[in-house]
Symmetry: C2
Subunit: 469 residues, 2 copies
C-alpha cells in the first residue's frame, strides 16, 4: 500500500479532521525535553478503541510503523516519531472518558487518554484517592503512565503505576482488541499479559483503557523535615520510620546539601528550616486519624531518632500550608538545577541498604576524574531511587561540560551500579535514549527472552520500533 | 537420546542418589488432593541452580518433558507428571537455603525450595514479617507459591505472591540461567519478565530463587466478628472498615450461615459467638500501636456500623488467644465440609461490588436446578474471592452427587460469572484441572498472545506440557 493510500484509509477510519499531515505538528513530533525532533507521516487521533484497532490494521497492512503517544511528557524519547517521515503517530488524546467508578470495589476504569490529574479529581469527588502522583500529572495520560510504569512521589506506600493497575484494554499489533479490563484483585487464569504490557512502552500493544485501584482519602497528610549527618543516618531513619509509622509513611525524600544550596541560591525567598544539614529528609505521613495524632506520632518518632543519634534536628509542619512549603522546597530542586545550568541527569535505583556505599564511592570517583565537579543528589530514598545528577564545576559552562563528558560520566555512574545490583533506569524507562544501555547492560538471557516476546507479539515490528529493544 | 542415556546423563549431573526411578515415588507422582496419580520417568533432585540448568539441558536434548515441583501442595494438578512414564519430575526440595536477609532494604532472598513457613520464621527472627500466609505454609515452597501466584489470608493488605516479589532467578527452557534477582523497588529496564514467570506454573521457566519484600512486624494483631443480615451489608461494612482502619485492616473474611452450621455440627466444642447471624464477618487489624488502641479502633468502627444498621451484633477479641479462636472458626470450615461429604468446590473472584447480586442469582439458579442443594459459601471477601462450594442435599451421597452433576454445576457457576467480569480461578491457578475451562473462557486474543509467548520461550514445549495452555 502506498503512503497516500494509507492516509486515505486512515481518513476514512477516523475522519479527515483527525489525520494531521500539515501545519505545525511539533506538539506531537517534538518531545518534552526537546531532545528529539521527529517528522511524522501523519498524526492520527482515533476517538475510540475500535478506531485504534482499525488504524493499527491499516498501518500493519501498509507495513508502516505506529508510535503511540499519550501526553508526550516522557523523558527518554519513547513517544515521538523518528525523523524519516514514515511513522504514524497515534495519539490517544481524544480518548479521555472516565468509563466507570466502582466505589464499593474501589476501582476506576478510564480511557487511556485521560489526563492523570483529571482522574485524581474524579476519584477525589467521590472521597477516594488515586494514589499515583508525579510532576507531569497535569498533562501526562494514564495510558502513558502505564505504558512506562511511572513512579512518582507515592511509590513508597502505593507502588509504581504497575501496582495500581488491575486490568487493561489493549490493541495488539495485529489490530485486535484484547479486553483485559478487570476489577479483580485475584485472577490466576493464564499468563500475566497485563504486567507484560505495563512498562513495554508501546512496543507490544497499545493500551486503550485501564482499571485502577483506588483507596479511601486519608483523613490528614502531615510533613516533617529531619537533618541527618550522612546517608547512612538517612537509611537508619527510614527503617525506624517504617516501623513506627507503618503504612502511614507515604513519603521519604532525601536531599543533599548542594541540592538545597542551589535552591537557596536561585530561590532565596523559600524558607530553609535546616540550613546546615548535610542531608535533609522530608517525611510525609498520611493518616486515617486527624492531624493532631499524625503530628504526635511524628514528634515521638523524631524524638526517638534524636535520642538514637540518627538526626540532629527536625521540624514538623504545623499546618497544611507548612506541609506544602516543605514539599515546595523538594520540588524546587529540578528548577534550581536548571537555573544553575545543564547537568548530566541520572535516574538510578539501588537496594536502600547499598545507597550510602554507592554514593560515597561514586562521588569519590567522579571528584577524582573531574576536580571541582558538583553532585546534585536527591530523590525518593524510600524507594531506593536517586536522581544522581552531575553538575559542571563552578564557573564551567554546563553545555560544554556535557558535550565533553556526558558519555564518560554515564558509563562511570552506571558501571558503579553493577556490584550493588542497581538499575540505570528506575522510573523513566528506556525509550530511544537508553536503548543502547539496555543492550549493553541487561543480561543476554533476559534480552533473548525479550526479543522472543517482541517477535511473538509484533512479528511485523510495527509497534514503536527502535524503542526499548 | 534414549531414556536410559538421559538417565545416565542426569545421574552424572546430580549424582545417582538424586535420580529416583524405583520404589515408592508417590510423594512426587500423586498430587495433594489425590486426584492425579502420574508415573515419572524419574524424579530428579538438583542441589543448586547450575544443576537445574544442566538437568533442563539434558531433557531438552532428549526432548523429554520436565515437570517442576515444589512442595506438591497445588490443588489443580499442575505439579505431578502425567501417567505416560515419560516425564521427568524436577523437585526443588533440596534447594532450601536462605541466601540473604537485607534488613535495611527489607528484603529476603531464598532458594525456590524453601518452605514458606521456614521463610516466615527466618524473617520473624529479625523482627520482620514475610506477609504471605496460606493453609499449606508448613509444606508449600516459595518457588511453588510464586509459580502459582499464591493468595491466602493477607492479600487484602499485602497483595498476592506476585506483589511481594521483587526479583527472580529462573532456568529457561533452553537450560540457561536468568539472574533476575533484585532488591529494587523501581526498575524500568525492559519487559517485565518477572511477572510473566510468576503465575505461569512452570510452563515458561523454572524459578530457582526469589527476592521478596518484608515489612516490620506489627505491634499487635486483633480480631473481631460481626453479624450481617446479608452480603450487601458485608460489602458496606468492608467499605467502612477500609476507611476507618486504612492499611491496618489486614483481614476481612465472610462466612455464610450454612458454612458455620457445618462447623457447629462437626466441631461442637468450638464457640460460636454469633450463632444466629446470616453472615458472619471476621475482621483482622494489624497495628503499629498496641492492642488497646487496636481494640479501641475496632469498637469505634463496630459502634458506627451498628448505628448505621450494617451489623446487628459484634464481638472484639479480648486477647491473642481469643483472636486465634475466631480464626480457628474460619479455618475449620474446610474440615467441616469434608466431614459432611464431598462437594463441588469453586475458587471464584468478582468485583466486591458484584458479590451480593452474583450470589443471590447463582444461589437461586442452583436451588431451582437441584432442589435441596446446600451452599457452603465463605472466603476472602476483602479480595472479592469466594470459595463458593455446592454440597449435595441433606442425605444424598456426596460422591454420587458429584459424579452426576459436577460438570453441570461448574458450567452454571462459571457462566454466571461472565456478566460481572468474574474469574473461575482466583488463587488456585489452571494446572491440568482447569485447562479446558481456560481455552473455553479466556478471550481468543489473550489465548493467542499466551500461545505465542509459550512458543517463543519454550519452542520445544518441554516445560510442564499439558498445563495452563
Amino acid at each position: 500500500m502506498s503512503a497516500s493510500a494509507l492516509l486515505e484509509s486512515l481518513r476514512s477510519t477516523v475522519g479527515a479532521a483527525n489525520v494531521l499531515t500539515e501545519g505545525d505538528l511539533s506538539a506531537w513530533e517534538v518531545d518534552w525535553r526537546r531532545r528529539w525532533r521527529g517528522r511524522a507521516l501523519a498524526v492520527v487521533r482515533p476517538g475510540d478503541t475500535a478506531e485504534v484497532a482499525a488504524v493499527v490494521r491499516a498501518c500493519a497492512d501498509a507495513r508502516v510503523a505506529v508510535v503511540p503517544q499519550g501526553g508526550n511528557t516522557g523523558l527518554v524519547g519513547g513517544g515521538v516519531p523518528d525523523d524519516t517521515g514514515t511513522q504514524v503517530v497515534l495519539t490517544l488524546q481524544r480518548m479521555n472518558r472516565v468509563r466507570d467508578i466502582d466505589e464499593a470495589n474501589l476501582t476506576l476504569t478510564a480511557d487511556a487518554g485521560c489526563v492523570l490529574q483529571a482522574l485524581q479529581q474524579a476519584a477525589g469527588e467521590r472521597g477516594l484517592l488515586l494514589p499515583l502522583s508525579l510532576a507531569a500529572e497535569g498533562s501526562c495520560t494514564i495510558g502513558g503512565n502505564l505504558a512506562t510504569n511511572a513512579g512518582g512521589t507515592q511509590v513508597l506506600r502505593w507502588g509504581n503505576a504497575r501496582e495500581l493497575c488491575l486490568g487493561l484494554e489493549v490493541v495488539t499489533a495485529a489490530g485486535e482488541v484484547w479486553d483485559g479490563l478487570s476489577g479483580l484483585r485475584k485472577d490466576n487464569t493464564g499468563y500475566d499479559l497485563r504486567d507484560l504490557m505495563i512498562g513495554s512502552e508501546g512496543t507490544l500493544g497499545i493500551i486503550t483503557a485501564a482499571t485502577l485501584k483506588l483507596a479511601p482519602l486519608p483523613a490528614a497528610t502531615t510533613t516533617a523535615l529531619a537533618a541527618c549527618a550522612d546517608l547512612a543516618q538517612c537509611v537508619a531513619l527510614l527503617k525506624l520510620a517504617r516501623t513506627r509509622l507503618g503504612a502511614g509513611l507515604t513519603g521519604f525524600e532525601a536531599m543533599g546539601r548542594f541540592a538545597l544550596d542551589l535552591v537557596a541560591r536561585h530561590f532565596p525567598a523559600l524558607p530553609q528550616p535546616l540550613p546546615d544539614a548535610p542531608w535533609t529528609v522530608l517525611l510525609e505521613q498520611s493518616d486515617i486519624e486527624g492531624e493532631p495524632q499524625a503530628r504526635g506520632r511524628f514528634e515521638s518518632l523524631l524524638g526517638s531518632a534524636l535520642e538514637a543519634g540518627l538526626i540532629s534536628d527536625a521540624v514538623v509542619a504545623g499546618s497544611l500550608a507548612q506541609s506544602r512549603a516543605l514539599w515546595h522546597l523538594r520540588e524546587s530542586i529540578p528548577l534550581a538545577q536548571a537555573e544553575e545550568g545543564l547537568n548530566v541527569k541520572h535516574d538510578i535505583a539501588l537496594p536502600v541498604s547499598a545507597i550510602p556505599a554507592y554514593v560515597a564511592s561514586t562521588d569519590s570517583l567522579l571528584r577524582q576524574r573531574f576536580p571541582g565537579v558538583r553532585l546534585v543528589n536527591f530523590g525518593h530514598l524510600g524507594d531506593g531511587n536517586l536522581h544522581y545528577n552531575v553538575q559542571a564545576p563552578e564557573g564551567v559552562d554546563g553545555a560544554r561540560f556535557l558535550q565533553a563528558h556526558e558519555q564518560t560520566i554515564n558509563t562511570l555512574v552506571f558501571d558503579a551500579l553493577r556490584p550493588y545490583g542497581g538499575s540505570f533506569s528506575a522510573e523513566h524507562g528506556i525509550g530511544a535514549l537508553k536503548r543502547d544501555e539496555l543492550s549493553l547492560r541487561k543480561s543476554p538471557v533476559a534480552l533473548r527472552m525479550m526479543r522472543g516476546i517482541k517477535s511473538a507479539l509484533d512479528p511485523l515490528g510495527i509497534l514503536n520500533p527502535g524503542r526499548v529493544l
